[in-house]
Subunit: 207 residues, 2 copies
């Protein structure tokens, strides 16, 4: 089992935390609001703890589950406290009206986070194509991920698998741009086709 | 049933043509190689005919199933012969090594085709996230589509549904950029995760 820190106390952070605790991982939750983090840790049970915002996370894998606009500032604030960590960027850099991304061609939130992070940290994009509220226990969803460091990717892939989810390697960190575009596409599908957000994107394999 | 013209005699054009004939549509296939088009029409059966390249297609829906690099030149060559048509762009504007798209931010193959087409034609992006060889009879796959004209979209959606496939409205033609990015993502998934191209992207709904 891995040691996981989750920075961010929103719906997606909670959903991943709940599944991680359920799978026997050592989970630390961290937020700017220490009392809220403590409450979440208590609610999670399973030995989950509340970490201190801005100090070195306990986990080897650090899931950055803050709103996209906060992601780079949070990483900058942590600075060298993230040295050597595997940083999982789950954010969607979406305009407020979901008309497009806030990033542009040839870059991505994940790559911006990698630039802001210590050189010894490795960023893996993952989970941004999964709506948090459909990540309920027992549901085996596909989790697309992308990154440049093979060991960091293997670690994140094993973590995803351990949650009862299916990891799908989408390639290098340059593919994060397209994973983020897929996040946008999913919101557009929700608006124009599904009528709600109760769906998941995935892959069917044929043999 | 609809009257459908398919310009392009490659794998994807053939796969759509076969399903369209199987669903009772009136199908015309068109290619630069008239003999090849005639052979395909005969192989398809079901009253399929071979049209003449560059002249007004018989179908109300015209599926542009040529390689992306040929799409705008073909539309330009047709000129006013495409007036009033619903043009379905299925192309993937991908670099030869699939490292990225040949289009850039804020545009897409579909939008470039719309610019090249007569003003009275309506372009709908569709099918580019489906590999032709998995589009085998009986398999109900998800077909994402996007476009700006509601009537053209409804027509394409009904056509997709009639093929035994599930249409998923991804929004306006500006979303074609992200559908094309999803096509790229699928190739990257094939290389890094699936190990082959025998898969389909789709959506699972929860209620």
């Amino acid at each position: 089992m891995s040691s996981i820190s989750i920075i961010g106390l929103g719906g997606m952070g909670r959903a991943i935390a709940a599944r991680a605790v359920g799978s026997g991982h050592t989970v630390e939750v961290v937020g700017r609001d220490a009392a809220k983090a403590k409450d979440l840790a208590a609610a999670l049970g399973g030995g989950a703890t509340a970490g201190t915002f801005g100090t070195a996370p306990a986990g080897d894998i650090v899931i950055l589950a803050v709103p996209n606009a906060a992601a780079v500032p949070v990483v900058a604030r942590y600075g060298n406290a993230l040295a050597g960590k595997v940083i999982v960027d789950i954010t969607n850099p979406m305009k407020a009206d979901a008309s497009g991304l806030t990033t542009s061609d040839g870059t991505s939130a994940a790559q911006e986070i990698a630039t802001a992070a210590p050189a010894s940290a490795h960023v893996v994009k993952a989970f941004n194509t999964v709506f948090g509220h459909v990540l309920t226990p027992g549901r085996r969803l596909d989790v697309l991920f992308a990154g440049d460091d093979a060991q960091a990717k293997a670690s994140v892939s094993a973590f995803i698998e351990s949650l009862g989810l299916r990891p799908l390697d989408a390639g290098g960190l340059d593919m994060a741009h397209w994973l983020e575009g897929t996040g946008l596409l999913m919101v557009s599908l929700a608006r124009h086709s599904a009528g709600d957000f109760n769906f998941a994107l995935g892959v069917s394999n044929f043999h």
